[in-house]
Amino acid sequence: MKRIDAITEIAAMAKDSHALLVGNIGVPCKELFSVCDMPGNFYMLGSMGLASSIGLGLALARPDKKVIAIEGDGSVLMNMGSLATIASHKPRNYLLVIIDNGSYGSTGNQPTATSRNTDLAEVAKGAGNKQIRVVDTPLDLRNILQTMDHGIIVVKAEPGNSAVPVIKMSPEGILKRFMDISSRPSH
């Protein structure tokens, strides 16, 4: 499975459940934008490593909303402490999906530590997380997404980027559109 296949499944579920969806820096954000642009998508254009942290802050601030963050192996490796912080709070409305393709895709597919000996599901478990699943096909991901509403999913994917266009929104425009949904109380 390619990363964009995983993103397609995640976005479809986010759309159905009216979730807030945080996209990861670089090509993953562009892939999300191309497969399913929605007002509830936050495209994180910088701050590598912080998608899981932004998602955690959102989930804690909005316990009434489902929150999903998409991470990569390279970005989780950059902010592994986030897995411990998530385990300490374990919000029941927060799903973290780590798409692990063993490479820094947006910078030319340099291998990450997960292409060698590091197992991110074990890292997440060691950090104290209880709900962890590992999948490697789009169908399995779809099925897990339908049953699992919080915790961490590690999606094993192949390296490689899709030929997708750049996001045609300003950072201010992304934030405003997102916050019109994310900061408004639900009724």
Binding site: V22, F42, M44, L45, G46, S47, M48, G49, L50, A51, S52, S53, I54, G55, L56, G57, L58, A59, L60, A61, R62, K65, N79, G81, S82, A84, T85, S88, H89, P171, E172, I174, L175, F178, M179, S182, S183, R184, P185
Partner: protein, 180 residues
């Protein structure tokens, strides 16, 4: 500026920690991430015990910047309790997240490595902190004698909120020496 609380018929001065907490309340801050400093110990405990403030201890300040950004997007008013050394851990996120999108955050910093510092390793970042904030065009505020520290917390948040960027309050070692 009067800075006291009534205790029956007598009044007593607020401690530095109580003044900062009063400012946090007055600014409406309801979401706090923290990385400890010895000078923030009592404040972190007070925040943790406040039922109407969400407190998230984080592993690193950069992580806290991300958590605060998410909380702000969720409608909360966020602040980070930190040592100034953590500014160095946060710079990319403050620039490529907060400044890029226009997301405010208030950094309440114990400013180490300056007057009265016993630990030599604190000195380089202590001296660099104001210069780094200047370079990043992050407004910062320092309590002066005779003023209420609570007021600068409110001012600093108001600046962050209206300018949609980070701001900071620097609380140096002599400030904490007034602690009872």
């Amino acid at each position: 500026m009067v800075n006291d609380i009534m205790e029956g018929s007598s009044t007593r001065l607020l401690s530095p920690t109580e003044s900062v907490f009063k400012g946090i309340r007055a600014a409406g801050i309801d979401f706090i991430v923290s990385v400890p400093c010895i000078n923030l110990g009592e404040l972190i405990s007070m925040v943790d015990e406040a039922p109407d403030i969400i407190h998230v201890p984080v592993t690193r300040e950069e992580e806290g910047v991300g958590v605060c950004a998410g909380a702000y997007m969720g409608g909360r008013i966020p602040a980070m309790l930190m040592q100034n050394s953590g500014l160095g851990n946060s710079i990319n996120a403050l620039a490529s997240l907060n400044m890029l999108y226009g997301i405010p955050i208030l950094m309440i910093m114990s400013h180490r490595g300056i007057e009265g510092e016993p630990i030599v390793a604190q000195v380089p970042m202590g001296r660099l902190t104001p210069k780094l904030l200047d370079t990043m065009d992050i407004p910062y505020f320092i309590p002066e004698k005779g003023t209420d520290p609570a007021d600068i917390i409110v001012t600093a948040w108001n600046v962050a909120s209206s300018e949609k960027k980070p701001s900071a309050v620097l609380l140096p070692i002599p400030f904490w020496r007034q602690q009872a």
